[in-house]
């Protein structure tokens, strides 16, 4: 009998990422636009090759995130066991400093208005948000965007360095692509395992990994434990924070902010069923190159009657099972076989998967004057171009080029096959057969990848209505907790005190807004009402003139 658990997972189709950073910006606006999280990007987009954010986070010899096998072949945290963690609790030697991320800054905008009349245009100097002093901006979350600073910066890419013996970085024929990253919501999360307080947990219903803000004591071990460096330390509140998979949104069946706002429509969200009892075993296969297959083997077929029966026994509701059967994630990983996990060698069983980009190959091919959409040319190029495949393999399959090659061949086949159709030619079944698919499958894949209808990209079952009452008020932050804001200044410094329930806070905020005209005219605030906040019910003060024609006190 297997222990079936459900996991919300994501797939990103890198071929469609144009590196616009919309996902990062909307995520930041929604989640990390607060003091203490200025430097935090739950979602970031990196240019590969590049150093990433924080700098060189993939170099696990340096940062020691994730798991490794000990001499007995059992999983242990790469940063050290439990005792070692407790002994290094007073000063974590493996914690990135703010400079490894970047020193956040703002500009002295006030200067633009307050500068006296002068010959020169006043400038807004950058001010560090950490020290408050003038600063020189020398790094950011995407400083090496689009290979900026290439010859100096890109060689420090830890993934590229693994390859450097075999292939020389030739920027004349440089390849690049974008890698959007969020928390992987791993099946075997090393951040959770690293947390001394037990404040981090994986939700048993949907596998989302969260930090309990009331239990976190700021020991900082999760930051070290996560090999993707996707747990961040809020330096104002002294608590860890991370991507929440927008749980308040997915609980009501709508996609995460990063997915919803993705311009390229490259993100897919769906349910995956997996065998929780087999996770540790699969994560400890001796050969790193087997990890990709091992990870696939933990995932269960939602159409298998035995799996369905076992899932029912575990209390997974019927609509969730239905969602698992319709899951685009399952299709991309198994039916089409084009999605790969990011860095399986960290042994955390990441659950945000990627479709590797074919574009670098096509670009190189077109650049040399060949037809970049011809099946034979593409197949030939995929085999010939060692740089992109070697690099992609280091990212997605622990260095094994074969799965990457297969995926790229399938993507190439889809491209050529669909071109035949677009040009009004006969369907060429042989192209599909060459990659072990049928023409029908290829067209199905084309619909999911290229048309990418909203309802097919996102198959998100709602959290259960009978749990609804418990979900409300589950947010723990207060939007008034900005520096100098009304939520500040509990008795023990920033953000101390009980969180204000969202509904209560909204009630007061709405009430304030409806009865204030402070921004416009403080004199007659009693007479003003903000109609934007009026929901049409009742008569807020100031909506109508007073009956007796006099002002209320």
């Amino acid at each position: 009998m297997t222990k079936v658990m459900a996991q919300l997972a994501m797939v990103m189709n890198l071929d469609k990422c144009i590196g616009c950073h919309t996902c990062s910006v909307t995520c930041k606006q929604a989640w990390t636009n607060r003091a203490g999280t200025e430097y935090v990007w739950f979602n970031n987009v990196e240019t590969r090759p590049g150093q990433g954010y924080p700098r060189t986070y993939q170099d696990q010899e340096k940062w020691r995130g994730g798991w490794e096998l000990n001499h007995r072949g059992r999983l242990q945290l790469k940063a050290g066991g439990r005792l070692r963690k407790l002994f290094s609790i007073f000063a974590n030697p493996l914690m990135p400093s703010i400079q490894d991320y970047y020193e956040p800054w703002t500009y002295d905008y006030d200067r633009l208005f307050s500068a006296p009349m002068q010959d020169d245009t006043p400038v807004a100097r950058p001010k560090s948000l950490i020290t408050g002093e003038n600063t020189k901006i020398s790094w950011s979350a995407n400083w090496d965007d689009n290979l900026a600073g290439g010859p100096e910066l890109a060689p420090a890419d830890p993934v590229l360095r693994k390859l450097s013996d075999q292939v020389k970085l030739e920027f004349e024929q440089a390849f690049m692509f974008y890698l959007p990253r969020i928390c992987e919501h791993c099946l075997n999360p090393s951040c959770v395992a690293s947390c001394p307080s037990g404040a981090m947990y994986k939700r048993s219903e949907d596998g989302i990994v969260l930090v309990d803000q009331d239990r976190c004591r700021g020991w900082r071990m999760c930051v070290t434990g996560c090999p993707y460096k996707k747990v961040y330390f809020n330096h104002k509140t002294g608590k860890a924070e991370k991507c929440t998979f927008c749980y308040p949104r997915v609980e009501v069946g709508i996609p995460t902010v990063c997915s919803e706002t993705c311009v390229g429509r490259l993100r897919y969200i769906g349910l995956i069923l997996y065998d929780a009892d087999r996770v540790a075993e699969a994560a400890s296969v001796p050969d790193e190159k087997d990890l990709y297959e091992a990870q696939r083997s933990v995932l269960l077929d939602p159409n298998d009657p035995e799996v369905i029966a076992a899932a029912r026994a575990e209390g997974i509701p019927e609509d969730w099972l239905e969602a698992a059967r319709r899951s685009p994630i399952y299709k991309l990983i198994f039916d089409f076989g084009v999605a790969l996990p990011l860095h399986p060698e960290y042994r955390t069983m990441p659950m945000v998967w990627y479709i590797p980009p074919l574009s670098p190959v096509v670009d190189v091919l077109s650049g040399t004057g060949h037809d970049g959409e011809d099946a034979d040319n593409l197949f030939g190029a995929i085999d010939a171009l060692r740089i992109p495949i070697g690099y992609l393999a280091e990212l997605f399959t622990a260095g094994d080029p074969e799965p990457v090659r297969n995926v790229l061949r399938r993507l190439a086949a889809m491209r050529s096959y669909m071109r035949q159709i677009n040009l009004g030619r006969e369907r060429d079944e042989s192209i599909a057969t060459a990659v072990g698919m049928t023409g029908e499958r290829v067209e199905e894949m084309y619909r999911l990848l290229a048309i990418a209808a909203y309802s097919e990209r996102y198959v998100i079952p709602k959290a259960h209505a009978e749990q609804g009452a418990r979900l409300e008020e589950s947010m723990s932050g207060c939007s008034l907790d900005f520096e100098g804001g009304p939520g500040m200044g509990g008795p023990f410094g920033e953000a101390s005190g009980m969180p204000v329930p969202v509904a209560v806070e909204n009630f007061h905020a709405l009430k304030d807004r409806q009865t204030t005209g402070a921004l416009v005219d403080p004199e007659d605030r009693q007479n003003r009402v903000n109609l934007l906040n009026w929901d049409g019910k009742g008569t807020p003060d100031g909506l109508f003139p007073d009956k007796n024609g006099r002002k209320e006190p």
């Binding site: 976190c216 104002k236 008020e473 023990f492």
Partner: protein, 242 residues
């Protein structure tokens, strides 16, 4: 024994203990979110990596020493065959080394806090008060040991201070025992009472949640959404149906 002695060695300790206990209960109930180490390692780690372990390991040894000296009666150690001489030498050597490490660590940490811009900016008034009291307690304690047991001829606090300390906990406080102790020991005890009284309201609360449970719990924690009942518990009589 005059009224002052009663105030200092009976009233004050009970007050401090009450504030310490109730303060922690109150804070745990109403300010779990503020219950953190408020680590500043992100800002600066070079000095922290020397100062913080020095201080923390030092103070842990000091804590053990205080348990050994105050809680365990002299008769017990003697019954175990530890002579007064042996105890005395161990206590003075270990205590002085740990005390110096603690004080040195604290000095580095305070220096860091004052000189590193971002760390200083993140320091609240509450922190400053806490640092002052903490430093006072440590300095007085170390001074008492040095004055009495290294420079001086030796003072056996296990016949006066320790019984007084224990007498508080079995509710038969004996202020006379403490009234005769050397002034440095008295000051050390009083400053420590002050520290205990402000303890629950400072960042020192992190000590009470030292994560020893980490050694035994399973690596990966699963929690059901059912456990998260919103931002407050339902009142009695309003629990959701099962």
């Amino acid at each position: 024994m005059n009224a002052l002695d009663v105030v200092l060695w009976v009233v004050a300790p009970y007050l401090a203990i009450t504030v310490f206990v109730l303060g922690h209960v109150w804070r745990y109930r109403y300010d779990k979110f503020g219950w953190t180490t408020r680590s500043s390692q992100m800002y600066e780690s070079r000095l922290l990596r020397i100062g913080s372990p020095l201080f923390h390991f030092g103070i842990l040894v000091v804590l053990l020493g205080h348990i050994g000296g105050l809680v365990i009666p002299k008769s017990w150690t003697e019954a175990a065959g530890v002579s007064e001489e042996a105890y005395h030498i161990t206590a003075v050597v270990l205590g002085t080394v740990a005390g110096v490490a603690t004080l040195g660590g604290l000095a580095i940490l305070i220096y860091r806090r004052r000189t590193v811009g971002p760390v200083f900016t993140a320091t609240t008034r509450n922190d400053k008060l806490m640092y002052a009291v903490l430093a006072l307690v440590i300095v007085l304690g170390l001074a008492a040991t040095v004055a009495a047991n290294i420079i001086g001829g030796g003072y056996d606090y296990r016949t006066t201070i320790s019984p007084w300390f224990r007498s508080i906990f079995y509710f038969q406080p004996d202020p006379a025992l403490m009234a005769g102790a050397p002034p440095l020991f008295q000051l050390h005890a009083l400053s420590a009472l002050l520290l205990f009284a402000i303890w629950p309201f400072t960042r020192l609360v992190h000590m009470l949640t030292a994560p020893v449970g980490y050694l035994t719990r399973p690596y990966v924690v699963y929690r059901s959404r059912d456990d998260q009942r919103g931002s407050r518990k339902p009142r009695r009589g309003w629990e959701p149906t099962r």
